[in-house]
């Protein structure tokens, strides 16, 4: 796979989700897929939307967020929280300027290394087709749903949310996600 700096994909992964330690080198790059880098975190709930924005700003072509299977967080709720943040149902959310097609969310159990690699390769191919990343693409606000629509490990609500072209205000908001019941999620 041809790689330039414009074709780098950063993976933010929970250390308890699929085990990539056998396929990454010391610097965190996946050996068989050049340009695919892995950052391990104790829980996918630790991923800040700011981190995704920082990766995009620094020129990454895409970001893969990987947590354990939904429902099975070691720390109880981490993967649900980052899922809700990516979907805009829980503050803090991703900025509008982030191209949602360049964000992929995968929910994989520890033994699912091969599944991760095949999904990541496909995603890199897709991201490559999107052209050179720009920090603030105009198309971003249109493609509001995360580009993760391919992943089968998704809940029906997520699929519904992905099918919507634009996240509208009437999407049901998790009552826990509002602050003081007054402020809605940031979009």
């Amino acid at each position: 796979m041809a790689v330039g700096s414009e074709n780098k994909v950063i993976t933010l992964i929970c250390e308890r989700a699929c085990d990539l330690s056998s396929v990454t080198d010391a610097s965190g790059e996946v050996k068989e897929v050049s340009g695919l880098h892995v950052v391990k975190l104790p829980c996918s709930g630790m991923i800040q939307p700011l981190m995704i924005e920082a990766a995009m700003k620094a020129g990454a072509a895409g970001v893969i967020v990987t947590g354990c299977q939904l429902g099975d967080c070691y720390y109880r709720e981490g993967n649900r929280m980052i899922r809700d943040r990516l979907l805009g149902n829980r503050p803090p959310g991703l900025k509008k300027t982030v191209d949602r097609r360049r964000v992929l969310a995968l929910w994989l159990a520890r033994p699912q290394k091969d599944r991760f690699l095949s999904e990541a390769k496909e995603f890199m191919h897709l991201v490559k087709g999107l052209g050179t990343p720009t920090p603030a693409p105009a198309a971003a606000s249109k493609a509001a749903a995360p580009a993760a629509s391919k992943a089968e490990d998704k809940t029906p609500e997520e699929k519904a949310a992905d099918a919507k072209p634009k996240v509208s205000k009437d999407i049901p908001v998790n009552p826990d996600a509002t602050v003081d019941g007054a402020k809605g999620p940031e979009r």
């Binding site: 965190g28 975190l41 104790p42 630790m46 990766a55 099975d72 720390y75 159990a109 029906p156 826990d176």
Partner: protein
């Protein structure tokens, strides 16, 4: 992580759950509601128990109605054979108890296999054991209430076992019998223990849920329907019947054993009573000590999250998201621009970093993994070559 558990066992569990997800989707995967399943059966037990309580008469005999004997056994008989659906309610009450013990054991097993029992979770583990013991004891008292020959043997075995205990034994035995011998008062005491302690379960559950931000207490209705259907299937396939009415003047010697509740009586029958108590208390303590730090080979102790006081704006997002209620919002010190300030209770913190993900102001950090370092690493990766 997972270091004290055989790796294959954990991977196997994860794969089974993965397979279940493929069939029923994450939302209806019973493995993700393992703690809520016994809770569902608890509600079933309360409801069916309430209905049984309406017709149960806690006496061993009634001299005033000697022609038409009214006692615990005949009232249970009346419930089973005369009241419409009475046998079904009785069966539900009985088998829901068994199902509760099974689901509690599965819950404990999954918690252990997935390594979720130690450090900041020790309260959940220890209260879970207390709850299991309570459930077992309440279940046993249910077997006394039927007042057939088995109840008589169980009562006598319990009394002789209690009397062996040093100092407190005779007193507890007298409390248990509500006197020095089996009388009408004994059965009313059994009924009180059975119902009273079952409500004590709610107190235990409160302790079990303490420090949990959003405990999963209820499975989705679809799972509840299936649990209920399975229960009814067993109720109709294996109807319950009482044994012969207990006669205090007789000494029955053998009974059918219910392995979920009555296994302690098997132990009692086959070992010296002192050995029995030592084994029972020893096993309980041993299980309680499983979360002891020296027994698991943890990678690293938890390093609690730390609030950057100068950056915190008091928005409460971290305290809302913390899964262990480890973040408390306190009034900000005088002179602050904001009303609230986040503080971390280190003994509750799991070091998971969900608060870091919740903070849009970089105001909370894991000491061993600063989010600024993570961002720097991400930038370096994206910008390299």
């Amino acid at each position: 992580m997972y270091s004290s558990i055989p790796k294959g066992l954990t991977d196997f569990t994860l794969l089974v759950e993965k397979g279940t997800n493929a069939i029923v989707t994450n939302k209806y995967n019973p493995f993700y509601y393992h703690g809520a399943l016994p809770q569902f059966y608890l509600w079933v037990l309360y409801l069916s128990g309430l209905l049984l309580f309406a017709y149960y008469i806690p006496t061993i005999d009634n001299a005033y109605f000697s022609e038409n004997l009214v006692n615990a056994w005949t009232s249970v008989n009346y419930i089973t054979n005369t009241i419409p659906m009475g046998a079904v309610i009785r069966g539900i009450h009985r088998y829901a108890g068994d199902a509760m013990v099974i689901t509690i054991l599965l819950h404990a097993l999954r918690v252990w296999v997935t390594d979720r029992y130690r450090q900041y979770r020790w309260i959940q583990w220890v209260t879970g054991i207390v709850l299991l013991l309570l459930v077992l004891f309440v279940g046993q008292t249910g077997y006394y209430l039927v007042w057939d020959e088995r109840s008589l043997i169980l009562t006598r075995m319990t009394v002789s076992a209690l009397r062996v205990l040093p100092f407190v034994g005779p007193g507890i035995a007298e409390w248990f019998l509500n006197g020095t011998a089996i009388t009408n008062l004994t059965l009313s005491n059994f009924l009180f223990i059975h119902i009273g302690l079952s409500f004590f379960l709610l107190f235990g559950l409160w302790l079990h849920y303490v420090r949990m931000t959003r405990p999963v207490m209820t499975p989705p209705p679809a799972i509840n329907y299936i649990l209920m259907a399975v229960l009814l299937l067993v109720v109709f396939a294996y109807p319950i019947s009482s044994g012969k009415m207990a006669d205090i003047n007789s000494t029955p010697t053998s009974f059918d054993i219910d392995w979920f509740f009555l296994f302690p009586y098997y132990m009692m029958a086959h070992m010296d009573l002192t050995v029995y108590w030592v084994a029972l208390i020893g096993i309980t303590l041993a299980v309680c000590f499983i979360p002891l730090p020296s027994l698991y080979k943890a990678a690293a102790p938890v390093e609690a999250a730390e609030v950057v006081l100068s950056k915190c704006v008091g928005c409460r997002l971290c305290s809302l998201d913390c899964p262990y209620m480890a973040i408390e919002m306190v009034p900000a010190p005088a002179g602050s621009r904001f009303k609230l300030l986040a503080t971390v209770k280190p003994y509750r913190c799991s070091g998971c970093g969900v608060c870091v993900g919740a903070c849009a102001f970089d105001a909370i950090d894991l000491p061993n993994l600063l989010d600024s370092d993570v961002t720097a690493q991400i930038k370096a990766m994206a910008e390299s070559q």
